[in-house]
């Protein structure tokens, strides 16, 4: 099944958003005010996209990212779309994170107890945040296979902890449950659709 039929892709260049904010003269994602403005701009862009959507947030043009901005642009954005009263169905992949961005991003994710998917190279995704060994194992399995049916997962992951891990990964929206196919899909499988 083609991923485009299931989920819409949408790429957001954070560097371009910063440029569009007239008050910000440089490629640094610093200060809470800037972070709030950037998050608002992302949410406005997202609201124009039909659900469900996979949004690739591209940080590759960003030089410095501080903790306040990481909290606003990453943690709060993701948290808003994880909660049950989310404005729309959206999934996120963080792209172009430099090693220096990872420390603030991981810190704010752990603090808010949320998970995020990051693209470490073309088609190569990783999980960020604080997760259990079971969650890591289930996520890696789905990511490697790109998709797995419920039955398949029930066969491989029979332990109660593994089942709980799958539920948590789904709630955290780092895997995508496709009701029509009764299967779990990795966000990587949707990214494959972007590459093809």
């Amino acid at each position: 099944m083609s991923s485009e039929k299931v989920i819409n892709h949408f790429s957001i260049d954070v560097g371009m958003i910063l440029k569009d904010l007239n008050s910000i003269p440089n490629p640094h994602l610093v200060t809470r005010t800037t972070g709030r403005d950037v998050r608002n701009a992302i949410e406005v862009k997202l609201s124009a996209i039909r659900s469900p959507a996979l949004s690739v947030i591209d940080f590759s043009a960003i030089e410095v990212m501080d903790f306040s901005c990481a909290d606003e642009v990453v943690a709060r954005l993701l948290a808003r779309f994880i909660c049950t009263d989310r404005p729309q169905e959206a999934f996120f992949v963080l792209k172009g994170l430099l090693p220096s961005h990872l420390e603030p991003v991981v810190e704010v994710l752990e603090r808010q107890k949320i998970l995020a998917v990051t693209e470490n190279g073309p088609g190569l995704l990783g999980l960020l945040g604080s997760f259990s060994s079971e969650e890591g194992k289930v996520w890696e399995f789905i990511e490697a296979k790109r998709s797995a049916t419920k039955d398949e997962l029930n066969t491989v992951f029979m332990e109660k902890e593994d089942q709980a891990a799958l539920r948590h990964l789904t709630d955290q929206r780092v895997v995508f449950y496709e009701t029509s196919g009764n299967r779990y899909r990795s966000l990587g499988s949707v990214m494959d659709g972007l590459l093809n």
Binding site: V30, T31, R32, V64
Partner: protein
């Protein structure tokens, strides 16, 4: 006219002397006598501006500043942008004596006023351009330290905008602490004239502490426990992250607010981690010292 004598050395260990002179009730006009000043660091400069501002506020007259007799000190203050920042705080006739010098490359970050978001962006951009060579070649840090340094600056400056409800100043410079430490250091100083930690937290936390609520409790709440007046999760990380990073660099962080100062004391510095009963002064004063990296400390 009241004369406030500046010490010969005006830095993070001596600016309290000036604050205690300034904190009295007197509304008499003031002259700051810097004639004998022969050394001033970023803490000295930004806190002299703060002291001048408090006097201006109390007396409704701009205080005078007698310049150091040593041309080197005046010249250095000019290069650090002190006199530019002092316009409107100290009387102009005292500043007119200063010969304008063009900006030079030996300054890490001139005295910069922080009033709004864009000021912090400018500070980060400036330091990104200047600090790389200093941190890697001179202080022995890994190349990515320049970004971490910018993040520390950003977070420390945001303390002014997010909590002080007032303007402030930041400055940073590299020094050779040959006598004190036997090595180079970077000194970052940030000061504001805002509500201070106690003022920022009072509404949310004063009832919890009751009669024990004071500057020390407020400092501990922010510095040690990461509390903030904002109820949402994700806030209150700034000072915590600064402490964490500076600790990795084997550095020192001190925060003075109201009548107390709290310090993360590194092994190379002798001080108690808490100082109380200081002269009451508005706002918050933050001092960060990052020493040159030494192999055996890695």
């Amino acid at each position: 006219m009241r004369k406030i004598l500046l010490p010969k050395v005006l830095d993070f260990q001596t600016y309290d002397v000036v604050f205690s002179e300034v904190s009295g009730e007197s509304t008499e006009s003031v002259v700051f006598d810097g004639m004998n000043l022969n050394w001033i660091d970023p803490n000295g400069m930004v806190n002299l501006l703060a002291a001048g501002s408090v006097i201006l506020d109390k007396t409704d007259q701009t205080p005078s500043l007698i310049l150091p007799k040593g041309q080197e000190v005046t010249s250095y203050m000019e290069r650090m942008g002190f006199f530019q920042a002092a316009k409107g705080i100290f009387s102009t006739e005292s500043l007119d004596e200063v010969k304008q010098e063009s900006a030079t490359s030996d300054v890490l970050l001139e005295v910069t006023q922080i009033m709004q978001n864009s000021d912090i962006h400018k500070v980060v951009d400036k330091v990104q351009g200047r600090a790389g060579a200093i941190l890697t070649n001179t202080l022995g840090y890994a190349p990515n330290a320049v970004v971490q340094f910018s993040v520390v600056l950003s977070e420390v400056c945001q303390n002014i905008i997010e909590h002080a409800e007032s303007a402030g100043w930041v400055a940073a410079q590299t020094y050779n602490w040959s006598h004190r430490l036997g090595r180079l250091v970077v000194v970052i100083s940030v000061t504001d004239l805002g509500v201070g930690f106690r003022g920022s937290l009072s509404r949310e936390y004063s009832n919890r502490f009751g009669k024990e609520w004071n500057d020390t409790k407020a400092l501990e709440a922010v510095f040690v426990h990461g509390l903030t007046r904002f109820p949402d999760m994700g806030r209150g990380q700034g000072i915590q992250q600064i402490r964490k990073q500076v600790r990795k660099w084997n550095g020192m962080v001190s925060v003075r607010s109201g009548t107390s100062r709290i310090i993360d004391v590194p092994h190379w510095f002798e001080s108690s981690s808490l100082q109380e009963g200081l002269a009451n002064f508005p706002g918050t004063q933050i001092n960060i010292v990052v020493p040159k990296r030494i192999q055996h400390e890695l």
